[in-house]
């Protein structure tokens, strides 16, 4: 295989005279930035028609099945207004536009697509949603991943039906264009619960990490966005995102999910980072006293966080004193556990060329490139174009 990849520049003569494909380590060394949260827009459900079995088309013909939509919003557009393309009114409806507006401008080599329909997992009709998930995954591969070297996809699944989700993961689990399974943080039951284990069994079978992304809390069949009910403002809603992330994380640890699936890697996307040190400290403090309740836990709880869990940066906390953030990141060993995410094109985007200027260079390198390479493994750099 001599197909050019994103690492070898087109003008590189090395490729012409030496057809050997660069090794993983060589290609990894060339990377500058991996973005673990790029939201490509689905212009409309009708786009999925070619990938959707006939029995579901009446839903599309009649204006869709009435998907429950998130009702918390800010007063602006919710997107980066300077990134909206005139032709379609979307900031990420076209993959070339995103290459230009995000990948090139901010020197990003690989973007992990997190899409725009993770809310399918809290819709009421799980059968239809499973079909939507499959169609959406095909659409992602066809329109975004395969024609480009710089994008990788996430396997969307109807989480409310774990068996169907596992089937979808097994169907696509060996496709080099897909690098993870994606869940919404909105849920009916915390994610450590055995109910979801078929999903994790399928994921580890194919060496796929599982990522949980904030969104859709309090919508459809999901529980309220916080432990105490429904906030009244977007400011409150957005700040409370870390609550659901914490609940899922603590559940995964205490239910023994990481004992059952020791190789399972779990990423918490867009929920912030600084709650993780708290969870580590609290669990480690209580664990010796309450161990009788969870005898299946073989290790200190914080070790599961350090070995099995990853946390994305955006929206990065911005304390007045930068040293405070670096201390929190030191507690959670960010050099092993934290991934860069931009959240493009959403309004709370983090600019990688500015937001991390005070980070030590070696830590920044870990967060920008190496931790993602470790979590996703070789498939992140695997060729995935059309055969």
């Amino acid at each position: 295989m001599t197909a050019p990849n994103i690492i070898i520049k087109e003008d590189s003569m090395a490729l012409a005279v030496e057809p050997r494909e660069a090794t993983f380590a060589e290609r990894a060394a060339q990377l500058r930035l991996i973005d673990t949260d790029v939201h490509n827009d689905l212009p409309g459900l009708n786009e999925l028609r070619p990938f959707l079995a006939k029995q579901w088309h009446p839903w599309l013909d009649n204006g869709g099945p009435g998907q429950a939509a998130r009702y918390y919003a800010n007063m602006g557009s919710g997107r980066m207004d300077d990134a909206i393309r005139e032709e379609d009114g979307l900031a990420a409806g076209d993959p070339d536009w995103v290459v230009q507006q995000l990948m090139t401008k901010y020197r990003i080599d690989i973007g992990i697509l997190t899409g725009s329909i993770i809310g399918l997992s809290i819709q009421h009709d799980y059968r239809f949603q499973a079909a939507i998930a499959s169609a959406y995954n095909e659409w992602t591969l066809e329109k975004w991943v395969r024609p480009f070297t710089c994008y990788k996809g996430s396997i969307a699944c109807a989480v409310q039906d774990p068996e169907a989700s596992a089937r979808e993961i097994r169907r696509l689990g060996d496709d080099p264009g897909m690098v993870q399974v994606l869940l919404a943080s909105a849920a009916r039951i915390p994610y450590g619960n055995k109910f979801y284990w078929p999903i994790y069994a399928a994921a580890v079978e194919h060496g796929l990490p599982v990522a949980v992304h904030v969104g859709s809390e309090g919508t459809g069949i999901a529980n309220a966005p916080t432990g105490v009910g429904f906030p009244s403002t977007y400011l409150e809603f957005h700040t409370d995102h870390s609550q659901t992330m914490m609940a899922h994380c603590v559940s995964l640890i205490t239910e023994g999910t990481f004992e059952e699936f020791p190789t399972l890697k779990f990423a918490f996307i867009e929920g912030g980072t600084c709650w993780a040190p708290y969870v580590m400290g609290r669990l480690d403090r209580l664990y010796p006293a309450l161990k009788a309740e969870t005898p299946y836990l073989k290790r200190r709880p914080s070790e599961y966080i350090l070995d099995n869990c990853y946390f994305s940066t955006q929206p990065i906390e911005e304390p007045d004193n930068h040293a405070h953030l670096l201390q929190m990141l030191a507690i959670m060993k960010a050099e092993k556990t934290v991934l860069f995410a931009s959240d493009y094109p959403h309004w709370d985007f983090d600019n990688p060329l500015m937001a991390f200027n005070f980070f030590p260079a070696d830590l920044k390198r870990r967060i920008f490139v190496e931790n993602a390479l470790e979590m996703y493994g070789p498939r992140l750099l695997a060729t995935h174009g059309r055969a």
């Binding site: 980066m80 207004d81 300077d82 309004w347 600019n351 937001a355």
Partner: protein, 119 residues
């Protein structure tokens, strides 16, 4: 300090704006009811091109549960994180110490000029 002519007066009608490249930086010139203001096109937060943002009004400081809308046409809202700045001063609405850099602007013989300090 150096003075740069960047536009003709008619280029920027009241309510309008023009973004110019001058002395190695982008500057947004805004016309608020006949008075011109010049702001550097860099948000104080994460460097977005703030002058591309919407010109809006905002909710003014108020009592709890009270809403007072004002400053219509005088607030520049960053296209990314929606930080709001008073175009006439460059100050953010939430902390006067957080501000977009501003430059003196004048009109002589129909020519709009901004004055930029030496680097």
């Amino acid at each position: 300090m150096a003075r740069y002519v960047v536009a003709q007066e008619g280029d920027i009608p009241p309510g309008g704006r023009k973004i110019v490249r001058v002395a190695g930086r982008e500057v947004g010139i805004f016309n608020l009811e006949g008075t011109l203001y010049a702001l550097k096109n860099v948000c104080a937060h994460q460097g977005a091109r703030v002058c591309l943002g919407r010109v809006v009004g905002t909710t003014l400081p108020s009592e709890v549960y009270e809403f007072k809308y004002g400053l219509e046409g005088r607030i520049l809202r960053c296209p990314w994180h929606e930080w709001e700045y008073d175009i006439t001063t460059g100050e953010s609405v939430f902390d006067p110490n957080v501000r977009v850099i501003t430059y003196p602007v004048d009109v002589v013989d129909g020519e709009v000029a901004v004055t930029i300090p030496e680097r």
